[in-house]
């Protein structure tokens, strides 16, 4: 009985951590670029990401002004 409770608690903790990671990942700032050769690049940090996000924010500002 006690063993089952421990397993259930571990599973619940694992599921919670997974959901939290997914949520954080979804909220993270990033730029995904797909190219005509079928390749894809995901920028998640660095100066290039910041430059592209600045441009994106200008677009968002234009849409919401």
């Amino acid at each position: 009985m006690r063993r089952r409770s421990v397993v259930a608690a571990l599973l619940a903790a694992g599921a919670g951590a997974h959901l939290l990671r997914r949520r954080r990942g979804a909220e993270a700032e990033r730029v995904d670029v797909h190219y005509d050769d079928g390749s894809m690049v995901s920028l998640e940090q660095g100066p290039e990401l910041e430059r592209l996000l600045t441009v994106a924010r200008e677009g968002l500002a234009a849409a919401r002004a």
């Binding site: 979804a26 909220e27 993270a28 700032e29 990033r30 730029v31 995904d32 670029v33 797909h34 190219y35 005509d36 050769d37 390749s39 690049v41 290039e48 430059r51 592209l52 996000l53 441009v55 994106a56 924010r57 200008e58 677009g59 968002l60 500002a61 234009a62 849409a63 919401r64 002004a65």
Partner: protein, 133 residues
């Protein structure tokens, strides 16, 4: 379907797209859900996203999704048109991209594909005429 109609359909279908602009091959906005000046600003931002991602890689970008904490900008292009759209934070990217590609397909289908059915109908009429004669 013209650009204005395709954009109107997109705005009606997609609950996640807040604003969008369709840009022609020459870079000028063809249709926008925003007032002209703001639509041009969004179009310029989209063009810069495409240009700057092309500079960094030796490939042609066809789709860009820039996700900020305040919202996302999507840019999708084909040979003839580019469409840029903004959404709120954490959109369902797959659905937004599907809707944008549908809009681009509607724009692409308008131009060269129209004559085919007419040709078939003529042949059918001729065959019918031959049978009658």
């Amino acid at each position: 379907m013209d650009a204005q109609q395709a954009l109107a359909d997109l705005m009606e279908i997609s609950s996640q797209v807040d604003a969008a602009v369709v840009v022609g091959a020459d870079g000028s906005p063809l249709a926008s859900s925003l007032p002209a000046e703001r639509g041009e600003r969004l179009a310029r931002a989209a063009a810069r996203l495409l240009d700057e991602t092309a500079e960094s890689e030796r490939r042609r970008p066809v789709q860009v999704e820039a996700a900020t904490r305040g919202g996302s900008v999507f840019v999708v292009r084909d040979d003839g048109h580019t469409i840029a759209a903004t959404t709120g934070a954490s959109p369902t990217a797959g659905l937004v991209l599907y809707d944008l590609r549908t809009c681009l397909r509607a724009l692409a289908e308008e131009e060269p594909a129209a004559p085919k059915p007419t040709r078939r109908r003529k042949k059918a009429e001729e065959a019918g005429g031959d049978e009658a004669a």
